[in-house]
C-alpha cells in the first residue's frame, strides 16, 4: 500500500536523531552553527509543507511568520528575559496569533489568489521589519543576549549548545507537524487538498480546516524563528525576504511535497548549496547553483527526494476486482 507520508521506522528515526545530536562532537564550530541554522530553516520548510503539501495551499507567507518568531524572541531577550523557553513560547504564540489574524482573510481564497495573498503577507511583514526603528529597521535587531535554559543558568554561547537547542526545537516542531498530519484534522487537511467540495459534502467546513492548518503552520514557523535568533542573536529584514520564501517553497518541491521529512532534507540541500557549496567553491554563483539543483530535481526526482524513496518502497497498486 502506498502512503504519501510513508512509514517512519523507529530505529531509523532514532539513528538519525543520534547522528544529528552528535554533530557538535564531530565537526568544527562553523559547520555546527551552519547546521543549527539549517535546522531552523528546515522547520520553516516543514511548516510550508504542512500547508503546501499536506493541505494543498502553496504559500509564500511562512518566512514572514518565521520573522515574527525571530523578532519576538529577540525583543523578549533584550527587554524581558534571556530564557529560551519563554522566547520560544512568546515567538510561537505571536506567530500563531498573526497567522490567525491574517489567515481569517487569506484562507477565503484559493489557488493562485491564495499564493498572491500569502506573498503580500510575507512582504508586509518584511517591510514592517525594514521600517520600524524599535525593530532596528534596515540595520536589523542587534544586542540580543545569549539565551539561557533556566533562570540563573549559563548563557548558551558555544555553537554546539545553540545547535542542540535548535535541534530540540526542530524535533518538537516536526513532531507537532507529524501528529497534526496523522490526526483527524490531518485527514481533513488531506481531504481538502483533494477536493474541498467533497469534504463539505460530508459536513466539514473547509474554511475552518484551512484556517486551523494555517494557524498551526504559522506557529511552527514562529518556533523556527526563535531557534534562529537563539543562534545568530541578530535578526535582519533580509532573513524575511521574498527570496527566502521562494527557497522554502523550492525546498518543499525538492524534498517531496506532503511528506514533511522530505522537505526537511530538501531544506538542508538548498541551504548547503547556497551557504556552503557556493560560498566555498563557486563564490557569487549561489543562484546559478540553486537553479541547476532545481532543474536536476525536476528531471531526476519529479516527486522529490522523499517521493523517490517512497516509490522504491511501495507495493505495486492493487488492480481490484472487476468493476
Amino acid at each position: 500500500m502506498t502512503r504519501r507520508t510513508g512509514r517512519l521506522r523507529p530505529a531509523g528515526v532514532l539513528l538519525l536523531v543520534v547522528i544529528l545530536a552528535a554533530v557538535p562532537f564531530l565537526l568544527a564550530s562553523y559547520p555546527v552553527s551552519l547546521g543549527g541554522r539549517i535546522l531552523a530553516f528546515a522547520l520553516v520548510v516543514v511548516s510550508t509543507d504542512l500547508l503546501t503539501g499536506v493541505t494543498g495551499m502553496p504559500t509564500l507567507a511562512q518566512v514572514g511568520y518565521f520573522g515574527v518568531g525571530a523578532y519576538s524572541a529577540g525583543l523578549v531577550g533584550i527587554h524581558w528575559t534571556d530564557n529560551l523557553i519563554v522566547q520560544l513560547a512568546v515567538g510561537t504564540l505571536a506567530a500563531g496569533l498573526l497567522a490567525l489574524v491574517t489567515g481569517v482573510v487569506a484562507v477565503r481564497t484559493a489557488g493562485i489568489v491564495f499564493l498572491m495573498v500569502t506573498l503580500a503577507i510575507g512582504e508586509l511583514i518584511h517591510q514592517v521589519a525594514d521600517r520600524l526603528d524599535f525593530l532596528g529597521a534596515s540595520n536589523g535587531l542587534v544586542g540580543i543576549p545569549a539565551g539561557t535554559l533556566y533562570p540563573g543558568g549559563e548563557p548558551l554561547i558555544l555553537a554546539g549548545y545553540t545547535y542542540w537547542w535548535a535541534l530540540l526545537v526542530f524535533l518538537l516542531g516536526l513532531t507537532v507537524a507529524y501528529v497534526v498530519a496523522k490526526s483527524p484534522l490531518g485527514l481533513s487537511m488531506r481531504a481538502v487538498r483533494e477536493s474541498p467540495t467533497r469534504l463539505r459534502a460530508v459536513g466539514q467546513s473547509t474554511y475552518v480546516v484551512r484556517l486551523v492548518a494555517f494557524i498551526i503552520a504559522g506557529a511552527i514557523a514562529g518556533a523556527a524563528g526563535t531557534a534562529w535568533t537563539a543562534q545568530t542573536r541578530f535578526v535582519s529584514p533580509g532573513d524575511l525576504a521574498f527570496s527566502v520564501s521562494a527557497l522554502a517553497l523550492l525546498s518543499v518541491v525538492l524534498g517531496g511535497a506532503g511528506t514533511l521529512w522530505g522537505p526537511a532534507i530538501g531544506a538542508a540541500v538548498v541551504f548547503l548549496t547556497r551557504d556552503w557549496l557556493a560560498a566555498n567553491y563557486f563564490t557569487g554563483h549561489a543562484d546559478l547553483l540553486l537553479g541547476i539543483v532545481f532543474v536536476l530535481a525536476v528531471f531526476l526526482l519529479p516527486r522529490g527526494i522523499a517521493g523517490y524513496q517512497l516509490s522504491r518502497r511501495s507495493d505495486p497498486p492493487h488492480s481490484g476486482a472487476a468493476a
Binding site: 500500500m1 488531506r190 463539505r200 460530508v202 466539514q204 481490484g320
Partner: protein, 233 residues
Amino acid sequence: MTALLEVVDLVAGYDGSRVVDGVSLTVAAGESVALLGRNGVGKTTLLESIMGMVRPTAGEVRVEGRDVARKPAHVASRANVAIVPQGRRIFAPLSVAEHLQIAYRKGGAWSVADVYDLMPRLHERRDHLGSQLSGGEQQMLSIGRALLCSPKLVLLDEPSDGLAPAIVEQVRAVLRELASTGLALLVVEQDLRLAFDVADRVLVMAKGQIVHESATPAFRADGERARRLLGIG
C-alpha cells in the same frame, strides 16, 4: 407524510445558463423517489443544487423546514442530507477506514461498524487507499461515507454507473435495505430496473423541469408513456 425535502421553483446552472429551470419537488420522510430523464436534462445539477455543491440562482431548498439554498454543502450535510455523487468521487490518497473516519459523527445513527456490517467488503479493504479500490468498492465506500453523515435523506447520482451487473445487484440490495430502514432516498438512475426496484415514486425531468410525476407501479404500467418520456426505443 411530512415533507423532509421541499424544493420550490429552483433555478440553477453554470455561467448564466438555466440547467435547472424552475423545479419544485418534495420528498417525504422515509420515501424513495427516482429522478429519471435523458442525459443532460439537469438531474445531476438538481442534486448538486440541493446539496449546495452548485449555487442556485433562484428558488428555495428546505430540509425539515430549514432553508439550505445558496449555503455551503456542509450546511446541507448538517441538516441531515448526504450525497453519493456521480463517479463516486472518493479521496484517492485516503484509505477506506480514513474515509469513514472523516465522515463519522459521534452520536449519529450509523457507526463505522454498522457500515462494515452492511458492506463487509469495505471491512476487508479497510486499509486500502481509495485509488486502489475497484469501481464497485468505490461505490460502496461512497455510500458508506454518506451513511456516516447520519442522514435522513440520501441523494444518489447514478449509483450503478460504470459497474458490472453483479456489482449493480449488490448496490441494489444495499439500497433496498437502506430504504427499508426508513431512510429517504432521491435516486438519479439510468438503470430502470434498479430505479423501479428501489423507488416508491417516479419523477421525470426534461429540459431542466419536472415533466411527470407518478407512483412507481403506475409509471411501470404505462410502458408507452415511459418510453416516450425517457426517449427509449
